[in-house]
């Protein structure tokens, strides 16, 4: 799986101790495996199974997705700005292919 189109919105700077909101959106069909195509053949399941975020190497958010999640999953969460560092966003699909995005945040 190639790198999927992703949108991540977060403040680039924050004050130490602030609660920052992070919004993410990824383009993915989240095919349930229950649907059939025009000729009645089942469409194989194809979903993102996990989404995890680390901040300065520490995991701050993790979610397990299943086939009930709609296409193009949108996830928003908050974390506390502790130090300047890198956030690493990882979406893992069930074939083990990963989409990884990195964003820096500067904490003053």
């Amino acid at each position: 799986m190639a790198q999927l189109p992703v949108r991540i919105i977060l403040p680039s700077t924050a004050k130490k101790g602030d609660i920052i909101e992070i919004k993410t959106l990824i383009q993915h069909a989240m095919e349930t495996g229950y649907r059939r195509d025009d000729v009645g053949k089942p469409i194989p399941r194809d979903i993102i199974t996990t989404f995890a975020v680390t901040y300065g190497g520490v995991e701050v958010f993790k979610a397990d997705f299943n086939q009930g999640v709609a296409a193009n999953p949108y996830v928003a969460f908050t974390t506390i700005a502790t130090e300047s560092g890198e956030l690493v966003f990882t979406w893992l699909d069930e074939r083990g292919a990963a989409t990884i995005e990195r964003r820096k945040v500067t904490v003053s």
Binding site: R7, K23, L25, Q27, A70, N72, Y74, A76
Partner: protein
Amino acid sequence: MRYKLGICVFVGVLTGADVAAQQRPATPLPGSVFQSPEARAMQSDDTSNPAMLWVEKGRSLWTKSDGATGKSCASCHGDLQTVMKGVAARYPLVDQKSKTLMNIEGRINNCRTDHQQAPPLPYESNELLSLTSAITYQSRGDVRLVGIDGAAEPFFTQGRALFEQRQGQLNLACVQCHDGQVGRKLRGDTVSQGQTHGWPAYRLEWQSMGSLHRRIRSCSIGVRAEVLPYGAPSYLALELYLAWRGGSLPMESPGVRR
């Protein structure tokens, strides 16, 4: 009173435009008004609007070279944000060279075959939807102004006739729902005015971006009429009429629809 009314009717008969003006909804309402508060919130916030994924993809496709000439859209046009501002608000229009009615999708494919010498993108392909969304996005907030005179007049007349013509097994015309029953419920949906300023839009039912023609096809299925192919001349004419019918409504694409 009777005298005044007489004059009104008389003037109306004199100029076709005045008669036509009476066919517009008195207060045009954008499609988003008829959506749930949740869908409206999704549309108005670019960070949660899933359609923005297509807009961003379109931005990157704009600068990607393609075809035998190796040109990208940007090679001829330049910066997407500056040159495409307000362009989608003037479409569909009659192409000077081919004398046919062209929407944004048609223009993109015309550019591809003529200038890039690349194969046209299939309707509803991810690439075409992305490019259309990115271009239409540059006109957000702009008032829609389409030409309905001169070369465009026959297409406009055709579109208007289609809008008012009963069709399908249910024997319904567009105008019966989208003018006569606006605001009432049709199963889980609220009947809208059929304004097209939010298209292409992300439709939650489709879990994907979709073109206006895909939406019109859904209506055709709904009244059990013949479903025409994407880009069909009849749909194009209807697209022109609908664009005009929105009056001074601003563009709101990419919309989020149920």
